[in-house]
């Protein structure tokens, strides 16, 4: 990444609830809100914090598969529905599987860097409970190479990460790995319970790690993962504004209420190729490295990380890919509580994908909102302490099986 030509900020974040099994409001038999509802709520949530739509120059919508989940494409053109003030302004939708939200942020950042906009409204949205999980698995499999779908598992992506987990078990020991994954699950749910919008907010299970250690059942699901190792099916949207300094001023947002974007990495790998090594998330490693290098910091300076834990094993492998633990030691690192909210490096402080929810196209934006909340002291019950000597946060948003990754480094404003 070249040195940034302008200062870039994010502020005015907003999350809808993540709706799906686990939320008390969720009833699969009753008609639920659609894309329009989520886009409106998240979009208007941001617009209300920037002094109105007149202060927004462009919009970007991150979405993965509305064309199949909702039989609806062309989401960019929904923005004037969100607010009439966005009529005749630029708006596009971007797609990169579960990294679509991250790509929306990247697109917004680049518009501001290009100087063609001072404020970009970035939304991420997905409404997935329109079909049963077994058909949703078909739709989400589109994040992989379709030529491999036939040979894949019925639950395609859980199958992919089950293979990764299996490889990890045989290379580094199953028991320690399962313990680390169980702790990851516990952290996710405990953080989510504190967050009003989280899908697992209402979770009351007492022994979370015991639940997470339920033996996988390959007859009905995958060989190496149980359902607690997986993020759930979610409906939800998140929004945040990307600003230049002028944009912030125009919106009347104080610097203290914004975070600065100090580096990003955006890496993709060949979707037609199998992972070079199942126990390593190579693209996350590369994108993370790019972002940290661009920001000119090391992982020791990070106060918190939002890591793409579509599966508990992805959390463990992500911890290793970013360098918090050596290859094969991620499970023990997590099991020791290092990534818990009071640990060495708190991760996914509002629950992550497993606890907060995973409306696929919205997740990347949700991550940014959480980091913005944490670094500006707006995280409510989820607030962790941000040390003065570690004023940075990072998001890692992954699409497919480690194929598209967006990594962004955020800094608390002075």
């Amino acid at each position: 990444m070249n040195k940034l030509s302008r200062k870039i900020y994010m502020a005015a974040g907003y999350n809808t609830i993540s709706l799906g099994t686990g939320r008390k409001e969720f009833n699969p038999r009753v008609q639920r809100p659609g894309l329009e509802h989520y886009m409106k709520e998240a979009g208007q949530g941001v617009i209300a914090q920037v002094g109105g739509a007149q202060n927004i120059d462009e919009s970007v919508v991150g979405n993965f598969m509305s064309s199949r989940f909702n039989k609806q494409a062309h989401l960019g053109a929904f923005m004037p529905m969100v607010d009439k003030g966005l009529r005749f302004k630029p708006s596009i939708s971007v797609e990169g599987a579960c990294a679509s939200g991250g790509l929306a942020l990247m697109t917004g950042i680049k518009s501001v860097l290009a100087g063609t906009a001072d404020t970009v409204l970035c939304l991420g949205v997905e409404v997935q409970n329109t079909v049963k999980a077994i058909y949703g698995a078909d739709i989400l499999a589109g994040a992989g190479w379709f030529s491999k779908r036939k040979a894949g598992h019925a639950y395609f992506f859980p199958g992919q990460f089950s293979d990764r987990a299996g490889a990890y078990y045989s290379e580094f020991g199953r028991e320690q790995a399962r313990l680390g994954m169980a702790r990851w699950f516990r952290n996710a749910i405990e953080n989510a319970r504190l967050c009003l919008t989280a899908q697992e907010h209402h979770n009351t299970v007492s022994d979370l790690e015991a639940l997470a250690l339920t033996e996988p059942n390959p007859k009905s699901f995958t060989e190496h993962l149980n359902v607690f190792d997986c993020s759930k099916v979610s409906d939800g949207a998140s929004g945040i504004g990307v600003f230049s300094e002028e944009g912030l001023k125009r919106a009347g947002i104080a610097f203290a209420d914004a975070v600065e974007i100090v580096g990003f990495g955006h890496a993709v790998d060949d979707i037609t190729e199998d992972p070079p090594q199942r126990t390593v998330l190579t693209t996350i490693r590369e994108a993370g490295r790019q972002a940290l290098a661009a920001a000119g910091i090391t992982i020791e300076q990070l106060a918190t990380v939002e890591l793409h834990d579509c599966f508990t094993i992805a959390g463990i492998l992500g911890v290793e890919a970013l360098g918090f633990a050596a290859h094969g030691e991620g499970a023990a690192f997590v099991a020791a509580g290092n990534t818990a909210r009071d640990g060495k490096i708190p991760m996914n402080t509002t629950g992550g994908l497993i606890g907060w929810g995973h409306p696929t196209g919205g997740t990347g934006v949700h991550m940014a909102v959480t980091i913005w909340e944490q670094l500006t002291g707006k995280a409510g019950l989820n607030q962790i302490e941000i040390d003065a000597d570690r004023p940075y946060g990072m998001t890692i948003n992954m699409g497919g099986d480690d194929k598209t990754v967006v990594a962004i480094v955020y800094k608390k404003t002075e």
Binding site: K132, I134, Y135, A137, D138, A141, F146, R149, K150, H153, A154, Y155, P218, K219, S220, F221
Partner: protein
């Protein structure tokens, strides 16, 4: 004839009925699963769905399609392997659609009994009418090209009599599914001495492929399930009648229904269960059983009167409950019949008084829903029954009497030779009636 060969040609009689449609569904899936095995490629499988009602058969196909779809969705992990060699079937939805089509392709609906003449297996699920069953068996047996095996779903008619009267040479056994067959795990298997060994082996293998729990019952009218339920129901009605000096009969029905449900942690009160099965069905089964039970009165006048006046219970085709002893809203009882007037009386008008008369439920008693989730039920049930015993309210006294009577009925089924063991009786109540504990226990 091997299992596969035998199951290639099957007919279900009464296929559009409540039990018949479930049996048809399970058999269609089993036949399709056999058909899809590589070693059975090219073999034809035919399942005749025979019923007198054209309308019923058309509804049956809709039901079948929707249920097979659900079954396919549940086992898609395995189905992907079954269809691994079909390159065009890629997504789960492709595979599920293909499976639904394959299962449906096995089924032929018809109103003509002649279709059964080519079948090697006949499942019979027509109404509990012995003469009708015998007539159909005789007709098929006399016209059949092979010597078919007859599997009857009767819940009460002795198999030996059917065998003799229809001249089936031992080629009939009782294969009694519980309602609804697709959900209930239990099958009562009633064999007779004359059954060929391979026929019983087939029945056990078929049940095991359907993932059913088989409980053997001897060939005594009512078998185990109805042997317990009929007597339990008669006792419930008589207990309510006994309360009449204290309260109107409708209130007494409410009280006994509540005691049998809430005080004894059962899924339904006894009157709700009678309604669920159907008052007419209960009356019919009692009539079938009575001639075989000398010295025992299996009859209740109130039941006869209600059936005569058209109060029959049972379910509508959408599964909702028809009015019986109780009237329901959203599946919950809201009023009780007053047999004197034939009108239903709102429970709300007397609930407080009746509940007060019964007294409170000891806190040790868990509702059925909570109890079934407990793994070590004994730790809950022992103190719960102890609490029932030491309590001095009218409700707990009724509950204790009722539980003791249920235990006696169950033990008598063993001593009369209907059931082969106490645990078989308990299994029937646990799996066929969803009770949380068996009637034979040492809690009291």
């Amino acid at each position: 004839m091997e299992y596969t060969q035998r199951i290639q040609k099957v007919s279900v009689l009464g296929a559009a009925g409540k039990m018949g449609s479930g049996i048809l569904l399970l058999t269609a899936i089993e036949m399709a699963d056999q058909m899809l095995k590589p070693e059975n490629k090219g073999k034809s499988f035919v399942l005749n769905a025979i019923d007198t009602s054209d309308e019923g058969l058309s509804g049956l196909l809709k039901y079948l399609r929707s249920q097979v779809l659900k079954a396919a969705e549940k086992k898609v992990v395995a189905l992907r392997k079954v269809y691994a060699d079909k390159a065009a079937l890629i997504e789960n939805s492709d595979i599920i659609d293909a499976y639904v089509l394959d299962v449906m392709s096995v089924v032929r609906t018809t109103t003509r009994i002649e279709a059964a003449y080519d079948s090697a297996i006949i499942f019979e699920a027509v109404s509990e009418n012995q003469a009708l069953k015998e007539k159909l068996f005789r007709l098929i047996n006399e016209n059949s090209t092979s010597k078919p095996w007859f599997f009857t779903n009767t819940s009460s008619v002795p198999i030996g009599g059917l065998n003799k009267n229809a001249n089936l040479e031992g080629r009939i056994l009782g294969f009694h599914f519980y309602n609804p067959p697709a959900i209930q795990k239990l099958v009562e298997l009633i064999t007779i001495r004359e059954n060929p060994v391979e026929m019983v082996e087939f029945a056990r293998k078929y049940a095991s492929n359907l993932r059913k729990t088989v409980v053997p019952s001897n060939d005594i009218a009512g078998f185990i399930g109805n042997g317990h339920f009929m007597r339990d129901a008669l006792f419930g009605i008589s207990e309510a009648e006994k309360l009449v000096p204290n309260m109107p009969l409708y209130e007494a029905i409410y009280c006994i229904d509540r005691v049998t449900r809430d005080f004894l942690s059962r899924p339904m009160g006894i009157f709700q269960l009678i309604d669920y099965v159907g008052l007419d069905v209960v009356q019919f089964i009692l009539r079938v059983m009575q001639p075989h039970m000398q010295g025992e009165k299996l009859h209740n006048s109130l039941l006869d009167e209600l059936v005569l006046s058209g109060v029959k219970g049972g379910q509508f085709s959408d599964g909702s409950q028809k009015d019986g002893f109780l009237k329901y809203e959203k599946g919950k009882p809201v009023s009780v019949i007053d047999p004197l007037t034939g009108n239903y009386v709102d429970i709300a008008t007397f609930r407080d008084a009746a509940d007060q008369w019964l007294g409170s439920i000891p806190s040790e008693i868990l509702p059925w829903k909570a109890l079934v989730k407990v793994v070590e039920k004994t730790t809950i049930l022992k103190p719960a029954f102890k609490a029932l015993q030491v309590s001095t309210t009218k409700g707990t006294a009724l509950a204790v009497t009722y539980a003791l009577n249920s235990g006696s009925i169950a033990r008598k089924l063993v001593s009369d030779g209907v059931a082969q063991s106490e645990s078989d009786v308990n299994t029937v109540l646990l799996t066929g009636f969803f009770h949380a504990y068996g009637p034979i226990n040492d809690y009291l």
